[in-house]
């Protein structure tokens, strides 16, 4: 038992959890047969069993059963279920396509009367949901904490759960990026999806094979970079914003020194063994070059054909997409994609090197 708990606690550390989720998701795209009914039954049964018996653990119970955290349990199960359901239907349709059959949605083209076929379904949904909400409200009183006191911040202070993804970004990026630029990019990026994605297939039915890249990118963003951060932000972030495993006690006094190192420190102090130059531009030149390379040069390199790239870089070529989408769509898409990847990149840099800023101009609040 203890062994199991320790293993889960270990696997819930940010590095391991994040890496496992990413790898797991990528593998599931390769071995699509795992999106089957059988695997789903086993997975949900085991997961639910572990989850609900874990309630016996006092530390786990304290966090999961907190009234405001109850929705997160719903998120966890609903998102898992619907991800499986969408992928399952997609994989089933892919089999039909492969066999030369029509997709399921195409087989049901005939028109039916909306009354009663749809109206009654809607009515039923409404009644079930209404009753469910009523039961939830009677069983679980809405929380109310101490009256507001501007002189005393609770520890930890959390944003509402649906913004915990943003709050998690704030650990790795300054507010102007994590709080302003990234949210804007998320909104703009979502709105731009239909204009970037020109793949005419997979419109109006579930499929995976016909739109692999789109689905993979979207699922990575939605599941790993958003929902996973929300869940870990709620359940695993404790006092002083430290990480705690699900079975760990939230110790207010656990000290984890967070020593900050910048790229400039790596280059000047550790690399060349001299003090930081006083001219800020000189001080930060390496970071500036890295950032400019990432947003300015990398997309251009990726647009080039494979054989025109040096050997070790050939894997980054997206020439296929550049050809298919044309320059405007390609660059918009790639820049949004790189912006999305900049979050995990910075996360890993932080975990591996304690890196705080790539470029740091605290004088003008311009830190990356």
């Amino acid at each position: 038992m203890e062994f199991f708990k320790n293993a889960v606690n270990w696997a819930s550390g940010p590095t391991v959890l994040f890496t496992l989720s990413t790898v797991g998701l990528l593998l599931s795209f390769k071995y699509t047969q795992i999106w089957s009914k059988k695997v789903a039954y086993i997975f949900f049964a085991v997961f639910a069993l572990v989850y609900f018996t874990s309630m016996l653990d006092p530390n786990f119970y304290l966090i999961v059963a907190k009234p405001d955290n109850v929705p997160i349990t719903f998120v966890l199960f609903l998102v898992a279920f619907f991800t499986w359901y969408a992928m399952y239907q997609g994989v089933e349709n892919d089999k039909r396509i492969e066999a030369g059959e029509d997709v399921l949605e195409k087989q049901e083209q005939e028109k039916v009367w909306v009354w009663p076929d749809l109206v009654y379904t809607e009515l039923l949904c409404m009644v079930i949901l209404g009753v469910g909400l009523m039961v939830w409200s009677i069983l679980l009183p809405a929380p109310l904490e101490q009256p507001a006191n501007p002189a005393d911040s609770p520890n930890p202070s959390k944003a509402p759960w649906y913004f915990l993804g943003l709050q998690e970004m704030l650990v790795y990026y300054d507010p102007w990026l994590a709080g302003v630029v990234f949210p804007t990019l998320i909104i703009v990026g979502l709105m731009a999806i239909p204009y970037i994605d020109t793949n005419p297939k997979g419109n109006g039915y579930f499929t995976f094979k016909e739109r692999k890249a789109e689905i993979a990118i979207f699922l990575y963003g939605f599941l790993v970079l958003w929902v996973l951060l929300v869940i870990s932000g709620t359940f695993l972030r404790g006092p002083n914003w430290n990480f705690f495993g699900p079975y760990e006690y939230w110790d207010q006094h656990r000290i984890e020194p967070l020593l900050n190192v910048h790229v400039s420190d790596f280059f000047w102090v550790r690399g060349l063994g001299r003090p930081l130059p006083s001219n800020p531009i000189v001080r930060e030149f390496l970071g500036i070059i890295l950032v400019l390379f990432y947003v300015g040069v990398l997309p251009v390199l990726m647009a080039r054909p494979r054989e025109k790239l040096p050997k070790f870089l050939q894997w980054i070529s997206l020439n296929k997409y550049f050809q298919k989408m044309g320059p405007a769509r390609y660059y918009l898409g790639v820049i949004l994609f790189l912006a999305m990847l900049s979050l995990p990149i910075k996360m890993y840099l932080r975990w591996a090197f304690n890196l705080k800023y790539v470029v740091a101009f605290p004088e003008i609040f311009f830190n990356i």
Partner: protein, 187 residues
């Protein structure tokens, strides 16, 4: 190509709209164009003015805020090496006395505005929200805070008391801590 066809099939209006738009572009005479331009310019200007006025409406001319300066007692009330937290609740200020003098630190974390706690055992300010840590001087050394805590104007009033004025802010990263009024030097 396939996409074009689908679009046309589902959306007949789309098909009709395209050639029409082209024709219309050619049909607008010079005269008509001038009127159109004038009309839209006026419309845009009126909209911009309206939005500007509405924006301005959100910033009141008078704001009732608690008085920004207060007297904190005589310099001798503060012991050397101690962070005085008596004014935290009412004025969001810590008053700190060191060997050379006294300074007033803002209690607002420079990360996202939570109120850190003074942990005397570890001799640091620690923010509960995201874990930023500050030395007694206000300099940040751990966590996400990008810069040191701010200091407020601190001088001696005529009656010999320490006067803290919160409306004036001194930032270390802007080199303002060398300002004589950011630090009350005591002989």
């Amino acid at each position: 190509m396939a996409q074009e066809e689908k679009k046309a099939a589902t959306d007949g209006a789309d098909k009709a709209a395209k050639p029409a738009a082209k024709k219309k572009g050619k049909d607008v005479s010079r005269r008509e164009f001038n009127w159109l331009a004038l009309g839209w310019t006026f419309f845009a200007a009126a909209t911009a003015a309206g939005l500007g006025a509405m924006g301005r409406f959100m910033f009141p001319n008078v704001l009732t805020e608690p008085p920004s300066s207060f007297k904190a007692g005589l310099p001798s009330d503060f012991a050397i090496g101690v962070v005085d937290t008596r004014f935290k609740e009412a004025y969001q200020v810590w008053i700190v006395r060191n060997e050379e003098g006294i300074y007033a630190l803002s209690t607002i974390c420079t990360h996202l505005g939570c109120t850190p706690n003074w942990l005397s055992a570890e001799s640091k300010f620690k923010c509960p929200c995201h874990g930023s840590g500050f030395y007694m001087s206000g300099i940040n050394f751990e966590g996400p805070a990008p810069r040191p805590l701010e200091r407020h104007r601190i001088v001696l009033a005529e009656d010999g008391q320490v006067l803290v004025d919160k409306s004036r802010i001194y930032k270390q990263e802007a080199g303002q801590w060398s300002d004589p009024e950011s630090f009350l030097t005591l002989a």
